[in-house]
Symmetry: C2
Subunit: 330 residues, 2 copies
Amino acid sequence: MPGPEALPDEFALIARLFAPLAKDAPGAYGLLDDAATIAVPPGDELVVTKDLIVEGVHFLPNDPPDLVARKLIRVNVSDLAAKGATPLAYLLGVVLPRGVTFDWMKRFANGLAADQARYGMTLIGGDTTASDGPAVFSLTAFGTLPRGSIMRRGGAQAGDLVCLSGTVGDAALGLKVLKGELPWLDEASRAGLIARYQVPEPRPELGVHLRGLAHAVLDVSDGLVADLGHLCEVSKVGAEIEAALLPLSSATQAVLSREPTQIGTVLTGGDDYEILFAVPPSAFPAVQSAAASRRVPVTVIGRVSDGAGVRVIGPGGMPLAVKGGGFRHF
Amino acid sequence: MPGPEALPDEFALIARLFAPLAKDAPGAYGLLDDAATIAVPPGDELVVTKDLIVEGVHFLPNDPPDLVARKLIRVNVSDLAAKGATPLAYLLGVVLPRGVTFDWMKRFANGLAADQARYGMTLIGGDTTASDGPAVFSLTAFGTLPRGSIMRRGGAQAGDLVCLSGTVGDAALGLKVLKGELPWLDEASRAGLIARYQVPEPRPELGVHLRGLAHAVLDVSDGLVADLGHLCEVSKVGAEIEAALLPLSSATQAVLSREPTQIGTVLTGGDDYEILFAVPPSAFPAVQSAAASRRVPVTVIGRVSDGAGVRVIGPGGMPLAVKGGGFRHF
């Protein structure tokens, strides 16, 4: 029986796996040139973001390669979504450990193909190299929006409603399940939480409808309390949220009813990739109607206030002491 | 005595070292947001390229950090230059090994500062993470040019002159010196070759003047013969160059007079980051005059022909057998 196919040289790898992902972008020049061109429609401006993922830090060596690729695309789409941009294209930087097989890369490319189609993006270029260290994938994502309409982290005002898309805490609990914690949880809940960790659900379809309505927006990657803290810091305001208002999946509800202290994980765990935003009450009905039409749940979880910092009101009406601001790399 | 200052957390690192590099770009939002915006002047289009460098592959752990940073910027500027684009901005992805010190990063940031000023670019965003593996720096560079004026690898025609900026082979010989080879070479020549390896000299000031004149352009990174091969392949032509015409530094001339077989290194070694282009003879005077006014040496080294592949004519008029097409990562 033949063994796993070894990687072809970098030019063949690009031609076989990556060039097909670039075929719909004229400015990618078939990935045969030194650079790509991006034509921004008149009246629009380009939004760019860059998130990289490292084996052993953001994903595990045994993670399914297609899911690694999809998470890579999605964490970047999430940044575009939070700014109100429509995804357009991406560049991919790849550092491969020596042992990686062609099959692994093929499945990785399949994941890219699935999600670039989902979000309407095309690959337009990048760089591929080998290394003795862990795999690193660096993605630069491009989106467009009408000039001047980008939503920022700053801009929240006292009295604004604090809103969150989707549910919170699933990804952080999913990571715990992957690490062998919560062994008592039923299979379906375990699988659901893991899926939320491995394949987040960015919300570009909501983001574009928040333009002109929300005062301040970001996506939740470091953790709900930490990211709300970032929003407050840049906006020079404070905020109060209520634990009882948090949108929770049934799996997370099951975890919390048996282990109430996991509320800390829900509040500070990262990787949710939901949209957190501040919106004046007068604009909330328009947000709600846009969200409903896009079938994205949006929940009011608190209020922006004068002052500084984030307060979390616990189930009994008393402030919760939240330890640890959120995930930091070092 | 206090030891070396440890790295602050990622937010402080960004605030102290990277935010100052972004202060002149309004669309960078002080590196405090999820994404950046790029405003492309009307009539222009955006050129994007991404080259990453890995510790142990593209640079050595003991290399001066400011030179690592400058090489990172320059290899990307070189891609923009070869397309005729004027550098504008960049995103920086950083993967840091656990032991890196604040001083190392500060010197790295100083290198970025020096070269972003030199090439008229500003940092507009990025991502920073830690890892147990080698350092990885991933840069996405942005440039602009009038819409439709990008120079491609394809387009060379039989009869075109093959031209090269600067000198060839210095960087590859510099790497050999760093590895302890060529011990007989004088100090000044050794230092000069090493400098060419560590701090390449991209040619954006030449590139913009080749627009409308050159038929096909790329920068020499994999090696002269390999990159001319890429240009020929995409252009569907062949080329013949003469070893006797190659522009050589005095250090490289000294190496070749003692070790004539190093002509192989000169022809196939990478990292030159000079511009290689095909231009019709009728346009060459205009190229020469532009190059002279920018003080960039340009040398005719051969001719484009019908057919395929690259032939190298040796000093005696006989074809040279060139082993190895150029550098490949795997």
